[in-house]
């Protein structure tokens, strides 16, 4: 696991009920993670407008990770079902907007999946770290 830091800026948008709790669990279990991501808590991935992820890129993010409850487990029963369609469209459009596909991902991490959270952020941050900072002119 990489301990180096400071070269990329990554935003992790996570839902309050599953992924935020999963990240808490990873902390409680002292599962080491990279430095280069900042967690932003929302009640539900259904709250996340894909434009918010685009906004993050526009503001200079080098990577955006969105994580919520597994489909079927949404605290509000349907939020992530709506969200995943939007997130998938975003995933398909971002490379078209000049942003490398590795810079964005969306996934599901439940409150009990601390190890999975560690693995998800470590993989994502490592990949974005390899690409380095973005010099986007368009977004």
């Amino acid at each position: 696991m990489t301990d180096s830091s400071g070269n990329v800026k990554i935003i992790a948008i996570v839902c309050n009920w599953c992924s935020y709790a999963g990240a808490d669990g990873a902390g409680t279990a002292r599962l080491k993670q990279p430095y280069d991501f900042r967690v932003m808590r929302v009640p539900c991935t259904g709250r996340v407008d894909p434009l918010l992820a685009l906004k993050a890129f526009e503001k200079g993010a080098d990577g955006v990770l969105i994580s919520g409850c597994h489909p079927g487990d949404c605290h509000y029963s349907e939020g992530n079902y709506y969200a995943r369609r939007k997130f998938e469209l975003l995933k398909r459009m971002l490379p078209h907007l000049g942003i490398e596909p590795e810079r964005y991902t969306y996934t599901w991490v439940s409150a009990s999946e601390a190890a999975r959270w560690q693995q998800v952020v470590t993989n994502f941050v490592t990949k974005v770290g390899e690409l380095g900072p973005r010099q986007g002119g368009a977004l």
């Binding site: 301990d3 830091s5 400071g6 800026k9 935003i11 935020y20 709790a21 990240a23 808490d24 990873a26 902390g27 409680t28 002292r30 599962l31 080491k32 993670q33 430095y35 900042r38 967690v39 932003m40 808590r41 929302v42 009640p43 539900c44 259904g46 709250r47 996340v48 407008d49 918010l52 906004k55 993050a56 503001k59 200079g60 993010a61 079927g72 605290h75 509000y76 029963s77 349907e78 939020g79 709506y82 969200a83 939007k86």
Partner: protein, 654 residues
């Protein structure tokens, strides 16, 4: 704006990898921050007192605590600032423990990260607005859907506590599946002896109204204030007059299928399911009635001493206003005939379901409690039970365990011995024995050792008729060889499936259900009797297959949750809900489309145009509408788009 930032050491939990003291100095330079301090244990009594002192002495209008996860102490600190006179929503937590100090080693880098986390929290608290919970009046009446043992238990518990309860039951009598059972495990006591007094209690309780032969048609409103339309199905009998004398049943010349006896017998076209029915009222199955089918007969009308028969009766609708709804609609028996052609698919007469056998064993059942073969009415000498028919079988789309079949099979095996004599050979084919309840394992052991029931581990691959016997071919996986048993009677331990119409009811109620049609609880461990729709609760087997003790225990748990809800005169609802800026709403109604809770509604303004309006007490605060609204005129209090963008900027520009 005067923001105070409190940075916790959490002993060494944070301070070992994050320089809390240094952060306190740096955070003082952030915009609008007028007070910072680092604290050994912020959540402790002196720590909280320090926050309250700073609020008073420094005139703080916003507070950030950088410490552990908000899931740990957000409530603690909100209460703390509220006690010092600040609105609890003008507070934000920066999680520098679970999300920073505990996951990093390098103190310099971790401190830098903690600083950014604090900056994001300060940015968020800057956009925070004071929020106030809404208060709504609570209607203290309760609707219970389903009058089985779980529904009856909930209703009695609530009625005893003084609440008015309406039970809506779609059959003509309450009692549910339990009323159809002969004995109950693991005590082998009589099912009716336990249940029917409870049914009578419910019927006579001053606080309980039973609406039998009725269904929930529409549900509007929200927790504390539901409006429910109930369809009262036409029984073709005026129940205000009917005295349940059964004269009509005796004289009726037409026959129809008998749901109550699981198809083991026929019933009359006008029927009362069983002698202890509550209410004991007759109803006509119009599909089988000669008057309705052929336009002649009217025997029931002639013999009825109460003049209760009304061939022109129509469905009627009544409305009930209630504060809470309990769903206790139970389960159905798996329709095994459609799925198991290898067991004859229902064409072999001496292969019957567990529930049919239950009716056969019952003294008031169609055989008067006499066990016999369906084909020739002889007493069976060899009886084979097959477990897990429609359970734990992915091939028939039922991967779950029905949770009752192991036990009822053991009970029926024991009863077979007592009905047909000790010399009857009884075999049970099983995959595993699941006997986890109190006294259950002992019960299985009794069946095996005391009653001499032969347990064979293995699945039966085929049933076929040969020479007047039902040949049972299967594998004994413990001995590793094929077995073939010529049986007189084969009983399938049929699994349970969700009640017919469960998904439709879930949609009417706006609650979730799983792929099998069982209703979903809000949280499997922490909120097992609540649904995700506030004010709607679950009890019994409608949630997942359950035996009687579990259903009743859960029902009482549900009753206590309902009482907890309705003990208050006013309900406080979370203020972190969506709110529409109606001056910007363009009326595209996408919010209404996507809301899982039906919180947004069209509201007509005085100029005749309509705008969206979110009913605060219904809104659960998920924000799906917020992400869907094209003009972004819906904002989620506590998670406004501006607060998210400000956090983004803070995290990215720093």
């Amino acid at each position: 704006m005067r923001i105070g930032v409190f940075i916790c050491h959490c002993g060494t939990n944070i301070a070992a990898t994050v320089d809390s003291h240094g952060l306190a100095e740096r955070a003082a330079e952030l915009k609008d921050v007028v007070h910072t301090e680092d604290v050994m244990y912020t959540c402790s009594e002196p720590g909280q007192a320090g926050i309250q002192r700073a609020i008073r002495e420094k005139g703080l209008t916003r507070v950030v605590v950088a410490a552990c996860s908000p899931q740990m102490h957000e409530v603690t600190f909100r209460r703390c600032v509220e006690d010092a006179g600040l609105n609890p929503h003008l507070f934000e937590m920066a999680n520098i423990r679970e999300h920073c100090s505990w996951i990093h080693d390098d103190k310099e880098l971790a401190t830098e990260k903690a600083y950014e986390i604090i900056k994001m929290a300060v940015a968020k608290v800057r956009t925070a607005e004071p929020l106030f919970p809404n208060e709504v009046d609570v209607n203290k009446d309760v609707l219970v859907i389903g009058g089985g043992v779980a529904g009856i238990q909930v209703a009695l518990d609530l009625a005893d506590a003084g609440l008015k309860v309406t039970i809506v039951e779609r059959e003509t009598t309450i009692g549910g599946t339990m009323a159809r059972l002969d004995k109950t495990f693991p005590t082998i006591d009589c099912s009716a002896c336990i249940l029917t007094p409870r049914m009578v209690d419910a019927a006579h309780h001053e606080n309980i109204t039973i609406m039998a032969y009725s269904e929930v048609d529409r549900v509007q409103g929200y927790v504390g204030n539901f409006v429910v339309d109930i369809k009262r199905k036409a029984a073709m009998v005026d129940w205000n007059r009917c005295i349940g004398c059964e004269l009509c049943v005796q004289k009726c010349p037409a026959r129809g299928p008998d749901y109550f006896n699981a198809g083991l017998a026929e019933t009359k076209a006008i029927y009362i399911p069983f002698p202890q029915a509550v209410p004991k009222r007759a109803a006509i199955q119009t599909d089988y009635c000669r008057w309705f089918q052929q336009g002649k007969c009217r025997v029931c009308s002639r013999v009825c001493p109460a003049n209760a028969i009304d061939y022109d009766q129509q469905d009627t609708y009544v409305q009930r206003k209630v504060g809470a709804i309990v769903v206790a609609t139970g389960m159905d028996v798996f329709p095994w005939e459609e799925y198991y052609p290898q067991y004859g698919g229902g064409r072999i007469p001496d292969v019957i379901s567990g529930l049919q056998y239950e009716r056969m064993l019952n003294a008031s059942g169609p055989t008067g409690g006499h066990v016999h073969r369906i084909s020739n009415h002889e007493e069976p000498k060899t009886v084979v039970f097959i477990q897990c028919v429609g359970s734990r079988d992915e091939a028939v789309g039922r991967p779950y365990c029905s949770s009752v079949c192991c036990m009822y099979t053991a009970k029926q095996a024991i009863l077979t011995k007592s009905h047909c004599g000790d010399d009857t050979d009884v075999y049970v084919f099983y995959i595993d024995i699941r006997a986890t309840g109190k006294g259950y394992e002992e019960f299985i052991k009794r069946a095996q050792s005391e009653f001499g029931v032969n347990y064979v581990r293995g699945r039966v691959s085929k049933l076929y008729e040969d020479n007047g016997k039902v040949m049972v071919r299967g594998m004994d996986t413990l001995l590793g060889h094929q077995v073939e048993i010529p049986a007189d009677l084969v009983i399938l331990a049929t699994g349970t499936t969700s009640a017919e119409g469960a998904p439709q009811l879930a949609q009417t109620l706006n609650i979730s259900y799983d792929e099998f049609g069982f209703f979903k609880e809000s949280h499997p461990k922490l909120r097992p009797v609540e649904t995700n729709t506030a004010g709607i609760f679950l009890a019994g087997a409608c949630q997942s297959p359950k035996d009687i003790p579990t259903s009743v225990a859960q029902a009482s748990g549900t009753a206590s949750k309902v009482l907890g809800l309705l003990a208050k005169d006013k309900l406080k609802t979370s203020p972190e809900v969506a709110v529409v800026d109606q001056s910007r709403c363009v009326g595209c109604w996408k919010c209404i489309d996507v809301c899982p809770f039906s919180a947004p509604e069209k509201q007509e303004l005085r100029d005749g145009t309509s705008r969206s309006h979110v009913i605060e007490t219904v809104c659960q605060g998920c924000g799906i509408c917020v992400a869907t609204c094209p003009v972004n005129c819906i904002s989620l209090k506590g998670f406004t788009t501006d607060s998210l963008i400000d956090q983004l900027e803070e995290a990215l520009l720093g």
